[in-house]
């Protein structure tokens, strides 16, 4: 991409009004979209003057120093995290440090359901002249696709909650497109109950349409619960443990409402 095109793209992004804020922090990744590491590198790519970028996910804050569209390094992590890469300037001449920075960011927020950023004035970091590595350069080194197309909502929901599901049967237009875990019970439900249930439920709703997440607490053997997520031509039958209910609902709300 030429510099002119890159500049035009940045201006278009800055002019867009679809940013979401959470208690003053800007949401840069939601339900895994874009991938958290790609979202971080995009923020670095948007940072021209030196700034401290405070990334926050699930109670963990990662402070980065970025300047000139380059990541200079990881300033600090709270709660305190022991890692040699914290406080180190990034340089292509030290690939071990660059990889360690990737591994730390991936560990702390690679699977983040929601990632936010706040921009602050910079703090002293490294030596003058240690410029770090450009966001585009890091995307190559870390194999992160900065231009990744957003995933469809159902895929975002299923990806963001994969660890909350005991098992999953994902069906699109009647065809199984993905499964995980032990799906024997889900398959039986799909074959023997789903069609009648959806018909009856739709009738009870007097035609209410659109995305739906239906949860049935304790509807499976051994205390497990069942859920049906419906969006356009996708239907996902899910088995989950009750303690995952809140997480699933929060995620659904963020993606579909």
């Amino acid at each position: 991409m030429s510099d002119f095109n890159a500049l035009a793209k940045k201006l278009a992004e800055l002019a867009s009004n679809d940013e979401v804020f959470d208690a003053g922090a800007r949401v840069i990744s939601e339900g895994g979209t874009p991938a958290p590491l790609a979202a971080i590198l995009r923020e670095v790519d948007d940072t021209v003057l030196e700034r401290k970028l405070a990334l926050e996910s699930a109670g963990t804050t990662i402070n980065l120093i970025a300047s000139g569209r380059r990541l200079r390094g990881i300033l600090s992590v709270t709660p305190d995290k022991k890692s040699n890469v914290i406080g180190q300037s990034l340089s292509r001449e030290e690939p071990g440090t660059v990889q360690a920075a990737h591994d730390l960011l991936h560990e702390l927020c690679g699977d983040a359901d929601r990632l936010t950023v706040r921009n602050y004035a910079p703090e002293p970091f490294g030596q003058t002249g240690e410029r770090g590595i450009s966001a585009v350069g890091l995307s190559d080194l870390w194999q992160v696709d900065l231009d990744e197309a957003p995933k469809p909502p159902m895929e975002r929901f299923l990806t963001a909650n994969a660890t909350a599901f005991s098992s999953l049967l994902h069906i699109r237009q009647g065809e199984v497109v993905a499964t995980s875990g032990e799906i024997k019970a889900l398959k039986a439900i799909w074959k023997s109950q789903m069609e009648d249930f959806r018909k009856t439920h739709k009738k009870a709703l007097s035609g209410e349409d659109g995305p739906q997440l239906i949860t049935l607490d304790g509807a499976l053997e051994e205390g497990a619960s069942a859920a049906v997520a419906v969006y356009e031509k996708d239907l996902a039958l899910i088995a989950y443990q009750s303690d995952q209910f809140g997480r699933m609902q929060s995620s659904w709300q963020r993606i579909f409402t």
Partner: protein
């Protein structure tokens, strides 16, 4: 007493729009919270949805066992249907804003329907 339980639950959650206590055996809404302005047809539909979600005659509509709490989240509303632990025909039907804290609400709704059902 039932009315005040419903009002207390509704007041606790600003995202709660309406509450109705129903008897599934007769498929009737017995009482709503005092601020509820749902029409009869809407109340019947709510009770009808509860019947569909929980199944009938001990047979689940979906799943291997009858559920004790069913929720339907859509972009326009979050509806929760919670059965009393001791009397499964006693059901609290709830309509909330789509962004209500679903887990916290269902926990409180369970406690509420249990208190109502026991006549505490």
């Amino acid at each position: 007493m039932v009315g005040s339980e419903l009002d207390a639950l509704r007041n606790k959650f600003s995202g709660c729009r309406a509450l109705a206590f129903a008897d599934l055996s007769t498929k009737m809404i017995l009482i709503t919270d005092s601020d509820s302005n749902l029409r009869r047809e809407a109340l019947d539909a709510l009770c009808g949805e509860a019947t569909v979600l929980f199944g009938a005659k001990g047979k689940p509509a979906l799943g291997e066992r009858q559920s004790n709490a069913a929720c339907v989240a859509s972009p326009s509303a979050f509806r929760a249907f919670v059965r009393a632990a001791d009397e499964p025909n006693d059901v609290l039907c709830c309509i909330c804003d789509p962004k209500v804290d679903a887990a916290a609400f269902v926990t409180e709704a369970r406690a509420c329907v249990d208190r109502i059902s026991r006549g505490a």
